[in-house]
Symmetry: C2
Subunit: 416 residues, 2 copies
């Protein structure tokens, strides 16, 4: 198994930069099928970094280290790594020239401390940094063949180095082209349901495929890792999973739920509108996360007050009085109103009680009604009772509405 | 010194959830002045978790562990921790009843595997989880007095447990009440600006106060740590910072930007509406994150297409033709249209190019126009050029609109 770790150096333990780097590294590694065995954040301390690197090297074949290569007093990664490898720091006139050129190009005066960045660890390979001054360094432990790669801390510099040097190196080092990764998506059901229903299948394939179940936004994902010769198993498994999960199954390597809905709308040449109450615009936000969504998404009327429901969505006041804003009747009227006001083919509505206030004995926090109106004016409605915080209820409502839309639009053509 | 570490368990190394948890934990700890010594992410492997916990316990007094408490086969944190402490797992009928009630409330069938979550480590203290099924567990190592706290992995559950149990425990354990923490908020300026402008002040107070600058949603925060006897320094500093940052200064321990705007609206007895284009509903979503926002927020018209801008916001077609949808003129017309359609006192509009497509030489990706209409029909508009990804541009636009609203509504009364 490939053993790789990431050490993120920075007193910025509090700041998002560190987490940006963790996301960057794990994201890029995932693309080539690598999972970090460890991901450690250490403060800018020579002893801490050295201790951490020793531990990591005792466990893993490759250790990526980012940060602490800058020119200031608290940048001590080079020193720490040199001490672990018992090597010297030497001045590289080649790097110094690059740094001078970098400052010159930006018409900046070169600060004296910049010279520190021209120091490299004896016997290391220099990885030029096109986006900043501190180059990366690659070191190999002679006896063990283990590798440490030092990378700059600023996210954009780190990203450049990952793409240009680290991924190609790792593909080669770990012979990754022989491994295959794929995933299946299932929407609208809890993780434990997927676990239980897929148990038998996972057992049967367990000698050839490694499985992981994760919760992604709006869906549960079954991640699979296998070898090149077993690659075609994914097609067999896809068929079996389709039978197990039916309409909830999103297929092999599915895009996100907003993307799936967007593609369905485009395939069927439909436009859509939304009417939101408790989600406050979050459904529109998720749909428009997708670049190019203006091709099918016309807009959303966020009617947070009853007056807006009446005025902008033309919900009959009698319905609001008789059934209340959170009801099947009002959800249907909202969807119809949005479809008409926005001259769209399809419309979806969400009305509910996100809490913590606003509940009554008959209408508890988490109660959400949704409706869909289809091009032939056929309607469908669903009732949900979500648990969790206000944020969770709103998010679950949005993804349930997208899944509702996916099924209704998907089935709509069938009926025609 | 307080030594505390965080171990985040999850094969979801790929997913943002892990990073969300790292941000959550370091953020909450920062609020009580604690800095994580290490922050390690390990996959769902019993040996990995156990090895990592042993190392952490050898270094630190408190180790927080999140994730791997779920019901599925790859949730093995309980087992790993039990092995490190050489204790047994025992079935808790108390927890089992809670889990049954949780499923019952959601009208779901209880899967057989859910029983696993009712197992606790012998001698551990149960920390009830109000937002999910897996409770937290607190274990103390008899001889050393070191503490391990197991917490659920889903971010909202983790957050609930941090606030309810972990922070109060840590305050007590580390005697943190003798320390004082406060923070100042500054909106609408970059981190480096706050760094530079506050440099002199930070130097002057450096023997009594420890400073950290972090980026929070919509604002830069200057975190301060001091002792009880120096607590009153915050008032002096507040005055000085007000002078340095003027209108951008949000004061001592400010709430979030959506809350600040909501409070301002309520103080001035105003209602608001929004018209969104490139943000697709995200502004409405952020405003309605706040419980009770229906008191002042009427709704948002997400006019993603030009037709919606014309039909629902009554933007004159000539303006759209002459200036294009992303222009000062259309932003002003959108805000006026939303105010009128929604019968609100104040309205804000956002129209821009979030990218990656849709740009032209005159209108690059990141160009965003906003407008505000005030109760006396006075208008204001602002032009922004944001950099970053589609997601970043949209988020920056939303927080800039909130900051724009805050300043305009704040100044509006002054003029009266």
């Amino acid at each position: 198994m490939e053993r790789i770790e990431f050490i993120c150096v920075g007193t910025e333990l509090l700041v998002e930069k560190v987490n940006t780097n963790v996301i960057l590294v794990s994201g890029y590694l995932a693309k080539v099928g690598l999972i970090l065995q460890r991901n450690t954040v250490v403060p800018d301390s020579e002893e801490e970094i050295a201790a951490c690197l020793r531990e990591s090297l005792s466990r893993s074949q490759v250790v990526l280290v980012s940060g602490g290569l800058g020119p200031t007093f608290d940048d001590v990664t080079r020193e720490a790594v040199a001490s672990v490898f018992q090597r010297k720091l030497i001045f590289s006139s080649e790097i110094w020239e690059n740094i001078q050129a970098y400052f010159h190009h930006r018409q900046l005066k070169i600060p004296e401390i910049a010279k520190k960045q021209a120091c490299i660890i004896e016997g290391s390979k220099i990885l030029p940094n096109k986006r900043g001054t501190a180059p990366g360094l690659l070191l190999e432990e002679k006896e063990s063949g283990k590798v440490v790669i030092l990378l700059p801390g600023p996210p954009s510099e780190l990203e450049g180095m990952l793409v240009e040097y680290v991924l190609p190196f790792l593909k080669d080092f770990f012979h990754l082209s022989e491994k295959k990764y794929f995933r299946f998506g299932i929407a609208g059901v809890p993780e434990s349901f997927v676990e239980e229903k897929s148990c038998d299948l996972r057992k049967r394939y367990s000698d050839k495929v490694e499985f992981t179940i994760i919760t992604a936004p709006g869906m549960i994902e079954l991640l699979c890792q296998t070898t090149k010769e077993n690659e075609n198993l994914c097609l067999e498994m896809e068929k079996e999973l389709k039978e197990i999960f039916g309409d909830s199954f999103l297929g092999l390597n599915p895009p996100t739920l907003p993307e799936i809905v967007g593609k369905l709308l485009q395939q069927k040449k439909l436009t859509m509108a939304a009417a939101e109450s408790c989600t406050g615009g979050l459904l529109g936000a998720r749909i428009t996360d997708i670049p190019g969504s203006s091709l099918y998404f016309k807009g959303s009327i966020v009617a947070y007050s009853n007056r807006w429901k009446r005025r902008l969505l033309k919900v009959p006041p009698t319905l609001l009085r008789k059934y209340g804003a959170v009801s099947q009747e009002v959800a249907l009227a909202m969807a119809k109103g949005a479809r008409k006001a926005g001259q769209a083919d399809v419309a979806v509505s969400i009305t509910g009680i996100a809490g913590p206030g606003g509940a009554s004995p008959e209408k508890p926090v988490g109660l959400v009604w949704m409706a869909v109106v289809l091009p032939d004016k056929k309607t469908a409605s669903r009732k949900f009772l979500f648990s969790g915080t206000r944020t969770q209820i709103r998010e679950r409502a949005v993804f349930s509405a997208l899944e509702f839309l996916r099924q209704e639009i998907g089935n709509w053509e069938k009926k025609k």
